[in-house]
């Protein structure tokens, strides 16, 4: 259950404009942001960072790949809330469900390109504690991505550094959409809802 109270729809009404881009991106408002709203400045600034990191720009990698990277990083950190969200989000952005379900076996699954493998391997290493990213990982990334795209990849992994700590510390309760996605697609990868359940009424 969420360890800090989630603000309700009424309490969030003044921040409609701030939360709209997340709703657009995901299809619903995540409970993680209902906690951030205790400090409205935080909610607003997190929204800015989210747009900066996740939106497509000229020369950027696709949003679908960004969420695949976020999924691999969240698996390395073990945050089930973030794994469900990012798996659902990459599918929402056009990754086939079978592929979103196979991210944990990217090294051997035929569904992934070498470029995707390079980014997902890097995400796992960069999200491990202690950090396992090496100079060789960077050399490998450079075969597939521009400097700008590598900055984007590190930014996605880092933003989920914030979110993995945030949600796994708060035991943020999962919403219906990501639960449905994860139960259908991610149990093969060992996903369970664990502590991210609603409080009993």
């Amino acid at each position: 259950m969420s360890r800090v109270k989630l603000l309700s729809g009424d309490e969030l009404a003044p921040y409609k404009e701030i939360i709209e881009p997340s709703i657009q991106r995901l299809g619903f408002l995540p409970n993680s942001q209902r906690v951030m709203a205790h400090k409205p400045e935080l909610l607003k600034a997190y929204g800015e960072l989210g747009k900066a990191v996740m939106n497509e720009t000229e020369g950027s990698i696709s949003v679908a790949l960004k969420y695949m990277i976020a999924n691999a990083a969240s698996m390395a950190a073990g945050c089930m809330y973030c794994i469900a969200h990012t798996g659902g989000a990459t599918a929402h952005k056009g990754t086939e469900e079978a592929k979103a379900a196979a991210i944990w076996e990217f090294e051997t699954s035929d569904l992934f390109t070498e470029a995707e493998r390079s980014a997902l391997r890097f995400a796992q290493a960069a999200a491990a504690v202690p950090n396992l990213a090496t100079d060789e990982d960077f050399a490998d990334l450079r075969k597939h991505y521009t400097e700008y795209q590598i900055v984007e990849i590190v930014a996605v992994i880092s933003m989920f550094g914030f979110l993995n700590r945030w949600n796994d510390t708060l035991a943020t309760a999962l919403e219906e959409e990501p639960i449905a996605f994860a139960e259908k697609n991610l149990t093969g990868a060992g996903w369970t809802q664990g502590k991210h359940v609603e409080a009993a009424e």
Binding site: L49, G50, V151, M159, R165
Partner: protein, 198 residues
């Protein structure tokens, strides 16, 4: 070695205007931000997040405590760049160097209050992989802090979650000022620049 070259002042162009407050606060511009400047929206986004976390209200915790928590968090994640920077920021905000050097022993050192111990314990547990925070930790936090303050504590831990991954992945080179501070203040407590030596 540097994995992505930090931009020079000239290469940063207009982005540098955004960072005047940071430069004034630290006396220099951190290399971590010189790398973010390769994607200016990112630099803007992270600065907005930083300002929001440091935005003070009547209920807010003192910045020194927030940086102390960021320091404990960075130690748990093992990012020596962030340990040096958060230590410098804590010191700048009134935390004695002696206390920073003793952070490994916060459970038994007389230098820490019970409220600080609870916050540092929370930082360590929430920055571990897998995450070690329990309902009991929250019960203990709530004896000392309001929900608003807990959100503040977790925000700085989250911010360093971003920075720990960013800087330890990029092996960001430490700036002379940050390195000199860390060597003097926490070198004796085992801090080393490692891959961040530049």
């Amino acid at each position: 070695m540097t994995r992505i070259e930090p931009l020079t002042d000239k290469q940063m162009g207009e982005s540098i205007d955004l960072l005047k407050p940071t430069i004034e606060r630290l006396g220099f511009l951190p290399n971590s931000q010189r790398i973010m400047a390769l994607k200016p929206e990112l630099l803007f986004g992270i600065n907005e997040l930083y300002k929001a976390i440091m935005h003070r209200t009547e209920d807010s915790l003192p910045p020194g405590l927030l940086y102390l928590v960021g320091n404990a968090s960075s130690l748990a994640a093992g990012c020596m760049y962030c340990v040096a920077h958060s230590g410098g920021a804590a010191s700048h905000n009134g935390i004695e160097e002696e206390k920073l050097a003793a952070i490994w022993e916060y459970e038994i050192s007389d230098l820490f209050t019970e409220a600080e111990r609870v916050a540092i314990r929370f930082a360590q547990a929430s920055s571990s992989v897998p995450n070690m925070v329990s309902d009991a930790d929250f019960a203990e936090l709530k004896e000392h802090y309001t929900d608003y303050q807990i959100v503040e504590l977790l925000s700085i831990i989250g911010l360093y979650g971003f920075f720990n991954r960013w800087n330890d992945t990029l092996a960001t080179p430490l700036e002379d000022g940050a390195k000199a501070f860390a060597e003097k203040a926490i070198g004796k407590a085992g801090w080393e620049a490692g891959k961040h030596a530049g």
